[in-house]
Symmetry: C2
Subunit: 357 residues, 2 copies
DNA sequence: TGTTGAAATGGTAGCGTTAACGCAGATGAG
DNA sequence: CTCATCTGCGTTAACGCTACCATTTCAACA
């Protein structure tokens, strides 16, 4: 370098007092900026000793890569559109926290967009493209909207369905085993001695609803209980629908001694319905929910339910999407299944005496 | 540099098939890239005709600014740390949607971080700095954490408190008039003929709690009701605490005929407590909540409450923060007050007959 | 008439990072 | 001992945009 920067004030000297850059780290570690970049991106072709030197320098300066520069230089940029219609807000908040966290960690940008189910799917696709979205994240109930999936697929975007009962060949999917969870919960009720167990199903247009119903039926069958179809009702995951179904079930000639609701909101409604009819929960009626959202602990008594790790599922889905966007080889739809767990609280109990008619 | 690039195939020709750039727009509009930039950033010093030409070109090409390049070139970059401890998830989800939207619109990056109230505030400040956060967004209850505010201020970061009862001179603040909202709600109850109105206060460490209590007291006073301090209880905004307070109130020798709870979760608990004691809501007990979160409609009957426009408040707070980060002149703490509204539903009613002891 | 200066526009040099390629030195094959 | 190959690292040129001047135009003013 013949030309020293001998004090002359270059015109564009607009470098503010921002954080250290690769160049600073490189100088300190006595390597080239490129090597620093390699270390930061964990390129395997860096000598161990060099890597250590660089890492030491990084730590010393408290260097943090500049995301803007990275995505500009890398040419790569990942915008994820998160579409939500109206899942329970408890679900959404957990979902948002998880996806936001992962997106930030992976240097992706998250665009949260509300989508009215009545709105035109074509217009949506156009909107996504105009926002330069690369991938779309679909929490329920949108994850089950076949038309929407097709539409987005036609626009050439990668997608991930979260908590769907029917993973599409067009998209990544992250699910729990809904059938097994519903089975486990129902089996718990039969284990407590219940033989007349009511069921409140979720919205029929959500594929997970059917899986939960199947789990319920299998548990009954395995307990040798002859399923009474009058005990099966169908709601739409809202509190209000849960209330209607629960009132109907409890008004039967031979009412159930336990009710399994397909989500916590409907289970909470069931508890409210029981109270409305003067029944004690769990003494006279056991109730189980599903999801373990905030609703589960915002009722009295608190609900026994199946925990769905919503935030983790969102994180996983974002990971799948970002990988797909950055690496075309990772584009083949993958289906990740995460574990659920039973959360035992106070809304269910051993069957004591049949309810006095 | 003596060595010309005499025809040799330039090495780095890595421009992918990405969207149009300022240069493309400039070419089409026959202006310089700089002018395009001015138009995009709505710089006033652009002739009307030029602006129109450029805008036409932009529309024609479907140009969208590259955020990465913008923040890199501008040197400006705004990272907002959103700290949340454990507000109700219904509140959080609305808050997240609003802040995310605004942050994206203004080209800021949102980092959502959970903060345990027991955790060290110093460690947090260090963490924020190491994440290169420029501003901090504080929803309740963190917006009332004085130590936290001081700590963040000491780290030299801009802050915004949302829904605090005591705007700090160190931070921006976005609030509603809690006192007036509580007054309005309580006045509605007195208007319905109630004279024994119970009160369930929020967590004492949240300044809004006191304001709501004041509103309640003022309404009683103006209705000529002699406040009975036994009717005032203190919860902590959780369902469980609401349950405890409600049970205590309803077990008084002379129980109230209406209860005003300082948030919807506690109001929902009050409804549950009433049902538990065999009271009909609203016939035997009127209940009012506060916030209009999802909890308000996830009980039966649905709650009359005061609506706090959480998403709007989050948006406004983000706007204040981003402005402050980009423009030091806008750094002087500002206090924005947004309007609340009363949402009348089914949980309150005219006082009919005094409750049968 | 020349001067001033504000308004409107253009030219250029970066911002911090990485892709693509270059180039030594080490290793292995023939 | 030469040629091909691989390792490890450096050099250069983008990425798309905007800050910082410089320049032009044209009206107002001395």
């Amino acid at each position: 370098m013949t030309d020293q920067d001998n004090g002359r004030v270059k015109r564009g000297q607009r470098r503010g007092a921002r954080g250290p850059t690769v160049a600073d780290v490189a100088r300190l570690a006595q390597v080239s900026p490129m090597t620093v970049s390699r270390v930061v991106n964990s390129d395997p072709k860096v000598h161990e000793a060099t890597r250590a030197k660089v890492e030491k320098a990084i730590a010393e300066l408290g260097y943090v890569p500049n995301l803007a520069a990275r995505s500009l230089a890398g040419g790569r940029q990942c915008r994820i559109g998160l579409l939500h219609s109206n899942p329970s807000s408890a679900y959404l908040s957990e979902f948002l926290v998880g996806s936001n966290e992962q997106a930030n960690a992976m240097g992706a940008q998250l665009l949260v967009e509300h989508f009215e189910e009545e709105a035109s799917r074509e217009a949506l696709a156009a909107k996504l493209l105009s926002h330069r979205v690369d991938a779309v994240l679909l929490p329920p109930p949108l994850s089950d909207d076949g038309l929407l999936l097709e539409c987005i697929n036609r626009a050439g975007l990668v997608m991930a369905q979260v908590a769907t009962g029917a993973p599409s060949p067009l998209a990544h999917a992250v699910t729990i085993d809904d059938e097994a969870a519903a089975y486990a919960l129902t089996a718990r009720l039969t284990g407590l001695g219940h033989r007349r167990i009511g069921f409140i199903g979720g919205a029929p247009n959500q594929t997970a609803s059917a899986l939960r119903r199947n789990g319920y039926r299998r548990a009954l069958a395995e307990a040798g209980i002859d399923g009474d179809r009058r005990l099966e009702t169908t709601g739409d995951f809202t509190f209000r629908s849960g209330m209607d179904c629960a009132l109907a079930l409890l008004s039967l000639d031979e009412p159930p001694t336990a009710i399994f609701a397909s989500n916590d909101d409907m289970a909470a409604a069931t508890v409210a319905a029981a109270h409305r009819m003067g029944l004690d929960v769990p003494r006279q009626l056991s109730v189980c929910g599903f999801d373990d959202t905030a609703s589960a602990t915002n009722v009295w008594p608190e609900l026994t339910t199946a925990r769905q790790p919503v935030a983790d599922m969102a994180r996983e889905a974002v990971r799948l999407l970002v990988d797909s966007v950055f690496d075309p080889k990772a584009r083949a739809p993958r289906h990740v299944r995460v574990d659920f767990s039973l959360v035992l609280r106070a809304s269910d109990a051993t069957l004591t005496a049949p309810r006095a008619g």
